[in-house]
Subunit: 285 residues, 2 copies
């Protein structure tokens, strides 16, 4: 553990839901919970980086994960502090000496490839992804998968109350707590939720190579790239996928499951890591 270098963090979660009044089709007043959404501007050593719109439920982890996934800071050890202040809707990140070398260059490269709720760092990240090797000698029994799906179903509290959020979970594939949820984050943006998980993993020094990443969101290229960046071999979603998500998952050898719900799933790529344990499997295989 690298506790001496652990950054100092604020603990500034916002309330997840708020109640507003709505009128339904029968003219009745219906008090309705809605998800919070707050702008959060990240300053890295006083330099303004980005404004994220977030639920604000795990803002420090989100900031860390954003800096990690955008490759703006190379190591968690170089971060001295993350201070989130909702009075000013800002997150002040301070680094230890020498850690933001090349930031100006990285920011310049970002300009042309990122956009309003739409852009990607696709070019840069694909180069990096080509070099990723995911652990091959790791298995997921479908019974574990069904366990995980059931846990997620019970876990999604903000979504159930207010909708309008995406959830992400990280789980183990091995050990006595296999398939148990290690962390669960919801956010108004599906990329925020995955970044917050990445931030927590970075902070706690958690290795992704034997983990499962679950998301309620769609498996687009960026989601697959982020999963591979974290070295996680299993990516599971209850939604569908895009062709580019499929292509990238195939190229990096990721095990990608879509439409995972109840005791159903579709395995699209990296199927060798899946072990079927259901009775039907024995009959067929």
């Amino acid at each position: 553990m690298t506790m001496p270098n652990r950054p100092t963090l604020s603990d500034a979660a916002r309330p997840a839901t708020y109640e507003v009044e709505a009128i339904n089709e029968r003219g009745e007043m219906v008090p309705t919970a809605i998800a919070g959404e707050h702008p959060l501007t990240i300053y890295l050593d006083k330099r303004e980086i980005v404004t994220l719109m977030t639920l604000g439920h795990a803002p420090e982890a989100l900031v860390l994960g954003y800096l990690r996934n955008q490759r703006l800071v190379d190591s968690i050890d170089s971060i001295a502090a993350v201070q989130v202040d909702w009075e000013t809707d800002s997150a002040a990140v301070t680094t230890r000496r020498r850690s933001t070398r090349g930031l100006k260059q990285k920011m310049a490269k970002r300009t042309v490839t990122s956009g309003c709720g739409q852009g990607t760092m696709f070019g840069n990240l694909m180069e990096e992804i080509e070099r990723v090797t995911l652990l091959d000698d790791v298995r997921l029994a479908d019974s574990q998968l069904f366990d995980l799906i059931e846990q997620v179903r019970r876990h999604e509290t903000i979504y159930k109350q207010a909708g309008a959020v995406h959830g992400c979970a990280l789980a183990r594939t091995t050990g006595p707590a296999a398939a148990e949820i290690m962390m669960f984050v919801e956010d108004v943006g599906r990329h925020n939720a995955v970044d917050a998980i990445a931030g927590r993993m970075w902070l706690d020094g958690i290795d992704g190579s034997d983990k499962i990443f679950y998301t309620t969101g769609r498996l687009t290229s960026e989601m697959v790239i982020k999963c591979a960046q974290m070295r996680i071999p299993f990516l599971v979603s209850r939604s569908g996928l895009t062709r580019m998500g499929h292509t990238i998952a195939e190229r990096v050898g990721l095990t990608m499951l879509g439409r995972a719900s109840g005791r159903h799933y579709l395995a699209f790529t990296g199927r060798h890591r899946i072990e079927r344990t259901a009775p039907q499997a024995t009959a067929i295989a």
Copy 2:
């Protein structure tokens, strides 16, 4: 009509879905349709602006709407041509003289407020939104709304085949074709879908002030801002909303309906524009 100034457009839609093989929980091979996703880099007068990940179903309209909604070009008349070329995954936009004045400044301002799949131009846009006045003297009967919901339900072909896309529709509130869908766009990103509608409206000189905007996506701040930018008073979603979406809708006086499905809806803001026609309404009101 400004036909003499209408830009020259390519017609380069990509196939919407592709088929891949998946293995289900019973070990059976299931041919599965998945949505396309392609990078599309926009060059404005040879300057690289952004790379969007898109379904590629209405790429020219998407490019126009992106430039419009990001306020990178002020008028459709200043655009001479949009040429989408999937060999190079690029869209070359050429403008008539003097039209990209101040672009460098705008791009600089973008840098700090936009992010990878997450960022917003919130600050800039909010200033603009404060000056928007939506037409108040326009009504939507809930019977029209139910009509529209039913049309959308029948219309969403890519979603039904492949999932992983969001759909947006534009409809009239008045005239013989009231509540009929004028345009419908699906894309892997919900912001792409709304931008493509904005692009088509710009191109065809369609005024938004008596229209309904429907989205399958969540009503976050950016969605509400884009709807107000297009001067559309009605924003309808089958999903939920966020608190900031609610706050902005209230501030600009937008009529915002969520959870619209079948013959149900929740009216959150601007309720005076909704006319209930259902029998229950008479009993209560």
